[in-house]
């Protein structure tokens, strides 16, 4: 049983439908969530965080349904995105101080450790930081309450290759510590280095949810990279 179980997730918008998305997240494993822009990755992530309301499906964390246990579950999960920054004009120290007050499981030692690891200055506000540092800023808050599940929506978008490499190293370190990581991206090369599982979505439909090895075994031709596999599958779908 995974630490998170998503079953038959559906969400209907006037111009887009997410259909029957199911996958598990497991402790100490990194799940790469791939698909083109607009495939439904962010909708899926927002649905499993209850930021949008699924039309159908079941979302369970730690064996508990999300609905009815939201506050308790959110103490144990962390979320970060490369696209949104909170309180751009507030000092990181002030945002952390408020965030800390909501988490009884806040780990001050971990906060100090990640602060040093990410080379973040508490006196700076997000508006003074580069895109890569903003992502780390979000990650710092998500990680400092000992999140057992980390949900990351395109955290490497807009980052330079070196920063992306740094981040994937951090994900590997978290994996070693037993954290389950869901990492959405359309930059599949980031997943070559760190992903254990692949969840592949196209136009709101699940194409695959398996280990990287099984995914490669099923779709790969002569040792293709994940990017080559995805490009081929997308082209095949377009001309089908």
């Amino acid at each position: 049983m995974g630490v998170a179980e998503i079953r038959g997730l559906c969400k209907e918008y006037p111009a887009f439908k997410l259909r029957d998305v199911s996958f598990d997240l497991n402790s100490g494993r990194i799940s790469g969530f791939i698909g083109r822009n607009g495939a439904g990755k962010t909708t899926t992530i927002k649905s499993i965080l209850n930021l949008v309301h699924p039309s159908d499906g079941e979302i369970r964390y730690f064996g508990l349904p999300l609905l009815g246990n939201e506050a308790e579950i959110k103490k144990r999960i962390g979320y970060s995105t490369g696209a949104v920054n909170y309180y751009p004009r507030k000092k990181l120290r002030d945002v952390a101080a408020v965030t800390r007050s909501f988490y009884p499981n806040w780990d001050e030692a971990a906060y100090e450790e990640y602060l040093k690891l990410f080379r973040l200055d508490e006196q700076k506000s997000p508006s003074e930081l580069s895109e890569g540092m903003k992502v780390k800023c979000n990650l710092l808050l998500a990680l400092s309450h000992g999140a057992e599940i980390l949900i990351l929506d395109e955290p490497t978008s807009g980052l330079d290759p070196f920063s992306r490499d740094e981040l994937t190293d951090i994900f590997l370190m978290l994996k070693e510590r037993g954290t389950a990581v869901l990492f959405s991206t359309h930059i599949t090369s980031d997943l070559e280095k760190c992903a254990d599982d692949i969840i592949y979505i196209r136009e709101g439909r699940m194409i695959a949810a398996s280990t990287v090895e099984a995914f490669r075994g099923y779709y790969s031709n002569y040792g293709d990279t994940l990017e080559a596999i995805m490009l081929r599958l997308e082209r095949e779908a377009r001309y089908a």
């Binding site: 927002k46 965080l49 209850n50 930021l51 949008v52 309301h53 939201e70 506050a71 308790e72 579950i73 959110k74 103490k75 979320y79 949104v84 920054n85 909170y86 309180y87 751009p88 004009r89 507030k90 002030d94 945002v95 101080a97 408020v98 965030t99 007050s101 909501f102 988490y103």
Partner: protein, 217 residues
């Protein structure tokens, strides 16, 4: 709830919300529509909603380990906190005008509303309108606040005009009494204002909690 209020004060609020409490001092302005003090304090609160939207405050709050209802409650608690601070300042200044300055010529010759308990009742009505019309309107989308703010301006303007002019209606001169004259009437209007304020705020908060539960962020 204290944690939520702390979050609102430290992260979400605009400094203008606190600075605009000073508009309560309009209570002392002679020949001025003093009810506008409550309107300007509400305008300061509007600045916090603008500030919060720019800072992605609603999404940040929704991701905290709290219920969605608490996200809504935190906004109401903050607004009530600022409104009551403004009201207390207005009340203190009103008492000064009702006692030490009750015979001051500059206030006696005022054609607009006098600072008395009736004024305080109307001030609470304006705060209640803000909570009901503006905050309630905002939480229909948790994003757009243009229309709710225009509706608030129109409704509050009508309430200010009514409050400032009501004593010119034949038979209602007593609402503009000085000092503690006609105290039962003054107290009745103040109590009515307080009841309306509480009712508008509570009903609006309940409706906002329902709306916010349905919104996709």
């Amino acid at each position: 709830m204290l944690k939520l209020l702390n979050k609102e004060i430290k992260l979400s609020a605009s400094k203008l919300s606190f600075l605009f409490i000073a508009f309560a001092a309009l209570t002392m302005a002679p020949g001025y529509p003093i009810l506008l003090g409550a309107f300007f304090i509400s305008f300061g609160l509007f600045q916090s909603f603008q500030h919060a939207r720019e800072a992605n405050d609603i999404v940040y709050s929704a991701l905290l380990p709290i219920s969605k209802a608490d996200v809504v409650k935190s906004k109401y608690v903050f607004c009530v906190f600022i409104e009551l601070l403004g009201f207390l300042l207005m009340a203190a200044l009103t008492l000064v005008r009702m006692t030490l300055l009750k015979d001051a010529a500059v206030y006696r010759e005022n054609v607009l509303m006098n600072a008395n308990l009736v004024f305080l009742g109307f001030a609470l009505l304006i705060f209640g309108i803000f909570n009901s019309v503006f905050i309630g309107g905002f939480f229909k989308t948790a994003y757009y606040f243009g229309k709710p703010f225009i509706f608030f301006i129109v409704t509050a303007f009508i309430a200010v005009c009514a409050g400032e002019a009501i004593h010119h209606v034949p038979g209602l001169e007593a609402v503009n009494s000085f000092g503690f004259e006609v105290l039962p009437l003054q107290a009745a209007v103040l109590i009515s204002g307080a009841v309306i304020y509480a009712a508008l705020t509570i009903l609006s908060m309940r409706a906002s909690i329902k709306s916010f539960e349905k919104i996709d962020l």
